[in-house]
Amino acid sequence: MRRPAARRVLRRFSVAGGLAGALALAGCGGGLRPLIGLNLQLAQRGEVRAPSLAGPWLALIRSGEGRGRVELIALERNAPVPLPGLNRPDAQPLSVSVDQRGEHLAVVRQLEGRTELVLYRRSLQALQPIAMQPAGVPRQVQISADGRVLAVELSRDGRWQVDLMELP
């Protein structure tokens, strides 16, 4: 029973080791300077994707055990902050975007066989579904850093389109 867990740990160490090597090489390169501490910590978080940077915040989707979770990392503290009410065990997030204040998170997720766009307000710990009008299936979302505009990529009438929405 312990072997898979040990393998996972070994794999994680090897990923972290490989990352450290790659980062050392990258440090010798031109304009890109790796943020080594943050990157090592991100590597230890396992499979992560769909990054969204805004000010002191990094939002991303962390995968594990067949499902995904939205995480919001406070870069100055190098630590995730709680997002009560956002993640559900039966939901699969596809895309996430955060504003500069870390107040709004826009998320596209699959839930109960459908794909939906939701807007999470961290100060209220509240989640609002946003319907596509006319109907469409969202795939990707971005919120402007000032938190005022949403751009949503969605499938509608057999084409990919972009809807824009202004938040009050």
Binding site: C28, G29, L35, E47, L53, G55, Q100, R159, L164, L167
Partner: protein, 199 residues
């Protein structure tokens, strides 16, 4: 039976209004897509500038995915200098005022992250060591950091990079530099004149 005075009800009005505004705090205003002026063509990968003024998206041009930069409200297309011939483009990301457009382009057999500086006209290629290829990116609104998603050892992961040695910050109007650029980044002079021209 005691009657409530109208004055007391008036006094409660601000509270009622506050409750009402809390009950519907997220009224959305949808912008029709027609101002974008591109008819029925397919459009993907939207990215907004930090102030929401500009929209970058990927459209098909001559069978190749090409990034298009537009003013969000009017649909006016803004010129990009360096990206022709580097398709397919993907994953655009804009800085706060839209000075910088970061995206993935094709360079030979490889995907490459680049940043176009619309103020100076420079293109900054950002190759990853070890021949690694990025899949997606996100540029911080102030252009101080870049997040890259890549696959290595069969695992998708995210790495962060510091761009302060390469790019001037692109800050919201009125915001001062709390963390000055490291040596090698020159602020002012020609850069300021460029900024005045393109804004």
């Amino acid at each position: 039976m005691r009657r409530r005075s109208p004055l007391r009800l008036l006094g409660a009005l601000p509270l009622l209004l506050a409750i009402a505004s809390c009950a519907a705090p997220w009224g959305l205003r949808r912008q029709p897509s027609t101002p974008l002026g591109l008819g029925q063509e397919s459009r993907q990968d939207p990215a907004l500038s930090g102030d929401g003024r500009l929209l970058a998206s990927v459209v098909e041009r001559g069978g190749r995915n090409t990034v298009l930069l537009q003013e969000r409200r009017s649909g006016t297309v803004l010129p990009l200098r360096h990206l022709r011939g580097r398709q397919p483009h993907s994953s655009p990301s804009l800085s706060w005022n839209g000075r910088y457009l970061a995206l993935l382009v094709q360079q030979g057999p490889q995907r490459l992250a680049v940043v176009e500086d619309r103020a100076t006209g420079q293109l900054h290629p950002l190759p990853l060591p070890g021949g690694r290829e990025p899949e997606r990116l996100s540029l911080a609104p102030d252009a101080r950091q870049l997040a890259l998603q890549l696959v290595e050892g069969g695992q998708t992961r995210v790495e962060l990079y510091d761009l302060r040695g390469l790019l001037e910050p692109d800050l919201p109007p009125g915001q001062s530099l709390s963390n000055p650029a490291p040596p090698g980044v020159i602020l002012g002079g020609a850069a300021v004149r460029h900024l005045e021209r393109w804004r």
